[in-house]
């Protein structure tokens, strides 16, 4: 962790659906997303786009590291299983979409759509896996 601190992302004991973190963690995440949105939506410059994406990824990975460090052993196990399922889901989604793009000439291959759908599927799988594990243990 370079900037983020584990206590900013320590989960408060309120159950699965109300995932609460300290205000510092919320501000940190909002800042990271704001940097990305400003860099992508409000400018046409490729350099600024790349820079904002790089800054976002740095902040996001930093927050992810801090978040992992703040978890207890049960949450770490849940997180590891959820990440594994997410990775598999994203790989399968990318393969399926690549096959669809290459099989149907009418559909124009669009990388941004490919990445967005993959990320969405990954997010859904992650949430569902965590929910299931939380219910089970």
């Amino acid at each position: 962790m370079v900037i983020a601190k584990p206590e900013w992302f320590k989960r408060k004991n309120r159950g699965f659906f109300s995932y609460q973190i300290a205000w510092q963690g919320a501000v940190y995440l909002i800042t990271a997303i704001t940097v990305l949105l400003i860099g992508i939506l409000f400018t046409q410059s490729l350099i600024i786009n790349l820079m904002s994406t790089a800054i976002f990824l740095f902040l996001f990975m930093d927050a992810l590291g801090a978040s992992l460090k703040s978890m207890d052993e049960r949450e770490k196990t849940h997180s590891a299983i959820a990440m594994r399922n997410t990775a598999w889901g994203m790989i399968i989604t990318m393969i399926i979409m690549s096959i669809i793009f290459s099989s149907f000439s009418g559909i124009k291959a669009n990388l941004s759509i490919l990445f967005m759908v993959t990320a969405l599927i990954g997010g859904i799988i992650n949430i569902l896996t965590r929910y299931k594990l939380e219910k089970e243990s």
Binding site: R11, N13, D72, E73, R74, E75, E134, E136
Partner: protein, 67 residues
């Protein structure tokens, strides 16, 4: 795995939140342990045993039919 965490915790008049803070886990983990839905690591089992002022892990965690 069955546990006697709730029983011993109530003897000590300790809340789940307090026990969770003592052993550095979330309250959800204490709930899962009390309900026998989660098998802890040896380190966590030891911490919980100490927090409940017991000498042996076997007093708190009942391992019958686990092997």
């Amino acid at each position: 795995m069955k546990t006697k965490i709730r029983e011993y915790r109530k003897e000590l008049k300790m809340t789940q939140e307090e026990l969770a803070e003592t052993v550095d886990v979330t309250r959800q983990t204490i709930i899962a342990l009390e309900q026998g839905r989660y098998n802890p690591s040896l380190i966590l089992a030891y911490k919980v045993t100490k927090a409940l002022k017991r000498k042996n892990i076997e007093e708190v965690f009942i391992f019958e039919n686990e092997i």
